[in-house]
């Protein structure tokens, strides 16, 4: 939700900015331009100029690297067009290329462990299997994926104080397709100092895991696989935005969502250990087929002449008995020439474990109906430290220029260590996750 605080006049476009946009659009549509004859090209600038009026473009390229695990490259483009009648259209596109080593859920062992790649049908063949050495954290080193996503949001003013927004998003990977529809309405009152909003979202997902969908809770060595699966979700979000003072604004959101269907990670297994700690086998994870989450989110923003800060808090709980707290602080210092700013970030996150989370299973008791060793369902805390530097170009009074930015973040998860069986003592069973994100952005 958003309070419209900016003077519409401030959205006037500088000639320089428009030229930059035209140049970018020309580059993006180079093939089409080449196909046109010279007379058409002469008429382009006028049409292009009209089309670009009210357009803003936000682009970023992010590189994400986990220590010894996954890395990803993610280009993102976001285009916003403001129409003269007050409507606006936002289009975005994201592309992810991921590769590296992904944890498979099994536990580190004193013995070598043999696993099959997702397309494998046997643990004995060498073509579709991999071996993890004693003492090493089990990861599939051949992990790779490509994701493409595109979204559109259309905002329509219904009255002077009420607006509605409709949105759609589609996302696809090798083994996953997702479609989301959302609708929301917001209303300003109290001299536009208060905004109430309400929205609903529906998500439809289809999973087609490589090699088939494993039967939840089945023995890993039996390769019991079935066909494609689905999961669907619905979410409602209610929000209040309040202008508190001349330099303080607050937002409070309540949200609830419910997902039903196949909620497992089809590539995750859990080790089965004997009382001493020797691995006797593996089973595929088995999560409940329904999950309901509720969250409360609060953000406060305050600013003075050259300093501003955003502080957000979030509390979430679900029917898997996971509870989480998130605190994030983003102060911003505008440097003396007002064209540059520095924005550090500190984020603290903590979650409790799902009631069915277990780092491993015992061979002496029956495998429970619901179990998962996916560390994302375990108890851990995470810290993020980051800093962003941005430089504005061509910005003058009442006009927007372009902004170049560089952002670096360090993220670390630290897990609660389980009490290890005798033969596994001394091993780092749940090593911390350490990741770095580097992002370059250009907005104009």
């Amino acid at each position: 939700m958003r309070l419209q605080l900016k003077d519409p006049e401030a959205r006037k476009v500088l000639p320089l900015r428009r030229q930059l946009m035209a140049a970018s659009c020309a580059l993006l549509s180079a093939a089409a331009v080449h196909a046109e004859d010279s007379s058409d090209q002469k008429s382009d600038p006028g049409v292009l100029s009209k089309l670009l009026n009210g357009v803003s473009l936000d682009t970023a390229l992010a590189y994400y690297h986990e220590d010894g695990r996954v890395q990803a490259v993610e280009p993102v483009v976001d285009v916003n067009k403001a129409f003269a009648n007050g409507q606006s259209l936002n289009l975005d596109a994201t592309f992810d290329v991921l590769s590296g080593a992904s944890p498979n859920g099994a536990l580190t062992s004193r013995q070598p462990q043999t696993f099959a790649s997702p397309s494998g049908t046997s643990l004995t063949g060498s073509k579709h299997s991999y071996i993890v050495n004693p003492g090493q954290y089990p990861v599939d080193r051949n992990y790779s994926d490509v994701r493409g996503a595109a979204g559109a949001n259309w905002n329509v003013p219904l009255t002077r104080l009420t607006s509605a927004e409709l949105g759609a998003k589609i996302s696809g990977e090798d083994d996953f397709i997702s479609a989301t529809l959302n609708a929301s309405v917001e209303h300003d009152f109290n001299e536009k100092n208060t905004t109430l909003s309400f929205g609903i979202s529906n998500e439809f997902d289809r999973l087609s895991p490589i090699g088939g969908t494993p039967v939840a809770g089945s023995d890993y060595s039996l390769f019991e696989k079935t066909g494609n699966k689905t999961k669907n979700g619905v979410e409602a979000l209610f929000g209040v935005t309040q202008v508190m003072t001349q330099n303080w604004i607050a937002e409070l959101n309540f949200s609830a969502d419910r997902f039903k269907g196949y909620l497992n990670d089809p590539y995750k297994i859990a080790s089965v250990l004997d009382p001493v700690g020797n691995t006797t086998g593996y089973v595929y994870e088995s999560r409940p087929e329904q999950r309901t989450r509720k969250s409360v989110f609060l953000e406060n923003r305050t600013a003075s002449d050259q300093f501003s800060a955003a502080l957000s808090l979030r509390y979430m709980q679900d029917n898997w008995q996971i509870r989480s707290d998130t605190v994030e602080l983003r102060p911003r210092w505008t440097l003396s020439d007002r064209n540059q700013y520095l924005e550090p970030t500190v984020r603290w996150y903590r979650q409790t474990a799902a009631y069915f989370y277990t780092p491993w299973l015992s061979s002496t008791v029956q495998v429970p109906e619901f179990q998962a060793s996916d560390e994302r369902l375990g108890a851990f805390h995470a810290l993020t430290y980051g800093i962003k530097y941005a430089h504005k170009v061509g910005e003058q009074q009442d006009t927007q220029g372009s902004e170049l930015s560089v952002r670096v973040e360090y993220y670390q998860q630290t897990f609660r260590q389980p009490e290890a069986p005798l033969s596994l003592q001394g091993l780092d069973l749940l090593p911390p996750l350490k990741a770095v994100l580097v992002q370059v952005g250009w907005r104009f």
Binding site: L3, F176, T180, S295, V296, L313, M316, A382
Partner: protein, 75 residues
Amino acid sequence: MRYRYLSLGLLLGWAAVVAGCSSMGVKPWQRGVLAQESMQLNGNPLDRAIDDHLYFSKEASSGGRSFAGGGCGCN
């Protein structure tokens, strides 16, 4: 369990502070600071989207600021 209700406690504390405010809101001509880019609640949407995707794929929680769905098979 010490932190079990940390967020809720902070939220209630914030509510108490707000309740203590004698007046809230501003007149249209007092919105100079509120119009700054850094005061926009939806500012820097790409930074948010990239961060949210990272956290969605690594943590059990998502959303709050906006819808929680991820459209990603990573979780």
